[in-house]
Amino acid sequence: MIFEIGRIAVKIAGRDAGKKCVVIDILDNNLVLIDGQTRRRKCSIVHLEPLDKVIKIKKNASNKDVVSALKKEGIECKEKAAKEKKEKSERPKKQKKKKPEKEPKKSKAAKKKEKEPKKGSEEKKAAKKDTKDKKEPKKSKEKKAETKGKPASN
């Protein structure tokens, strides 16, 4: 097989076309895992042009090893920064914290607290509605007054 582990190749297709890479792993009859100047990804054999060089590299070698091995051959490529998994770890923690907080509140407060805020909220809502109702007609009256006043003056 031409595409053994450690074979240097050029990508011929896609946005990484023209960039050099090393075969790290053989996944299938047609699929290989590559890394180097290209992104680390699986790739079809049809999209690779093999070169005559083969390096010694372990199966599934890390990106650092690949970069250092390619430098010896005179192929420069950037190291890819490892992905930080901070976001993933934070999100589930927040959700877990919220759930236990709600449950003890209900048990401690019993029925009294549940009733009180509801009443208060209802009263507030009612008060808001009143204010809204009051405000709107006032404005409309004022506008009407203005509209009435204008033609009279004119």
Binding site: V10, I12, A13, G14, R15, A17, G18, E49, L51
Partner: protein, 88 residues
């Protein structure tokens, strides 16, 4: 009869469906020619051919393919070019 200025084919004709359900004939400016491959002459896919005012507002990735020689060569010719470079 259309008016004399519209009897020539210097404007392209577009049928537009009106809100009332009718189809009316509209006259618009012609689109520029489609891009072709520099070596084999095939029509390039994925390259927009619009009037400049539309091309201005288009994102870069919709104007041409994001690979070396994108918008200049077709993908087959690009492959042969890259392979020839490596073999020499």
């Amino acid at each position: 009869m259309p008016k004399p200025g519209h009897r020539s084919r210097s404007l392209r004709r577009v049928f537009v469906r009106t809100p009332g359900g009718e189809s009316r004939l509209h006259y618009r400016k012609k689109k520029p020619a489609k891009a072709r491959c520099g070596s084999c002459g095939a029509v390039l896919k994925g390259v927009a051919s619009e009037r400049p005012y539309k091309m201005q507002n288009m994102p870069r990735s919709r104007k041409k393919p994001q690979r070396p020689y994108g918008g200049m060569l077709c993908s087959r010719c690009m492959r042969t070019v890259i392979i020839e470079k490596e073999r020499v």
